[in-house]
């Protein structure tokens, strides 16, 4: 590096080649492959820019790695900064979204509209279970039915309700 700073272009070429291969090896597990070359380029440019601060009597790699850490922290700051700023347009997502969440909401108007169309027994059971929050056992006691009969009637009522909601 000392002769490279002194103007020996061949030595400078060798030094930069050696630095780049060391950096590629060091950064291979730290960076995504698509960004690795760009970061190494940035570090080489910084080494070139700061070469006047190198003291030839001292080891080279700690000096290079200090610059590499600085550039790497710049890279991560930019990387996470971009990740935070990234936005997704809802129109780009409409093909993969399962339903249009703004259209298919079950409203209380729908419930009031569909409930009278169900058989009387199912209306009573759904009303007790889902509006008055009674347990299956309580509903069975109130309507003088068995627990399994309440469960079957509630299931059928629920199924019929869903079918009419989709119509």
């Amino acid at each position: 590096m000392a002769s490279a700073i002194g103007g020996d272009k061949r030595a400078y070429d060798l030094v930069l080649q050696a630095i780049s291969s060391r950096l590629l090896a060091a950064l291979s597990k730290k960076l995504p492959p698509k960004d690795r070359d760009d970061v190494v380029q940035e570090i080489l440019l910084s080494v070139h820019k700061a070469r006047h601060t190198y003291e030839p009597t001292r080891p080279l790699m700690p000096w290079v790695m200090a610059i590499a850490r600085y550039r790497l922290s710049d890279y991560w700051r930019k990387h996470y900064g971009q990740a935070l700023d990234r936005t997704v347009d809802i129109d780009d997502m409409k093909d993969i979204l399962p339903t249009d969440v703004t259209k298919d909401l079950d409203t209380s108007e729908d419930i009031r509209r569909i409930m009278p169309t169900l058989p009387q027994k199912q209306q009573e059971i759904l009303d007790l279970m889902y509006r008055q929050d009674k347990s299956v056992q309580e509903v069975a006691g109130l309507l003088n039915m068995t627990v399994s009969a309440v469960k079957v009637a509630a299931h059928r009522g629920y199924k019929a309700f869903r079918k009419r909601l989709k119509e």
């Binding site: 700073i5 070429d13 200090a66 600085y70």
Partner: protein, 214 residues
């Protein structure tokens, strides 16, 4: 040819011979020279404390002045080492200012324990914001010059370098105020000398991020 090879080829073509930067001692002496001249000129327009001759015989006063002088020197040395990307491979040097700082704080504790050693002027002559302003005035040129030195090098710790530069410059102000300000009260020192210096260091963090990043 890969992007990296292309970059290396371009860099090698660029004019390589260049002058290596000065050694830390050279940079420090350059800053110290400018600081001594600037401080000397400013001190010529200030009035020294009336009891200076008496205070110069007090070991506590001499100890405080020496610790503040050493704080200035050590923070400036740290700032100079922060000029280099790898701190000249002496990372522990950043802790150097803690020694004079601890000595200065020890003298503050001594003054609290033995209040008879402390000169407190009558309430109508107690300064406040004037001291903070005075520290800032003394800090302007040394702080600017240290930033100028740092910008010519390649610090990899721009925020720290900014903070330490302005702390070194503010320490000059604290040092000079010992000769100007006749109030040695510890609370006054902490409120109007130490706190403004720390605030200047905080400003240094912001200025360092803006002007020393490369």
């Amino acid at each position: 040819m890969s992007k990296i090879e292309q970059t290396i080829e371009n860099l090698v073509k660029a004019p390589v011979p260049m002058q290596a930067s000065s050694k830390p001692l050279g940079l420090f002496l350059q800053w110290f020279g400018v600081t001594v001249i600037a401080t000397g000129v400013m001190a010529a327009f200030m009035t020294m404390r009336p009891d200076l001759a008496t205070q110069m015989t007090s070991p506590v006063f001499i100890g405080e002045v020496l610790s503040l002088f050493l704080l200035t020197v050590t923070t400036a040395i740290v700032a100079v080492f922060l000029c280099y990307p790898d701190l000249r491979q002496k990372p522990n040097i950043v802790y150097l200012p803690l020694v004079p700082l601890a000595v200065f704080m020890a003298f503050c504790v001594y003054r609290l324990l033995y209040p008879e050693s402390t000169v407190v002027p009558p309430p109508d002559k107690v300064h406040g914001i004037d001291c903070a302003m005075c520290i800032s005035v003394f800090a302007v040129l040394p702080g600017f010059w240290m930033f100028h030195i740092l910008r010519r090098q390649a610090t990899t710790h721009p925020k720290w370098a900014g903070a330490v530069s302005l702390l070194a410059a503010a320490s000059i102000g604290m040092f000079m105020l010992k000769f100007i300000e006749p109030n040695d009260s510890v609370l006054h020192l902490l409120q109007w000398h130490v706190m403004p210096s720390l605030m200047l260091a905080g400003i240094g963090v912001l200025l360092g991020k803006k002007f020393l990043s490369w």
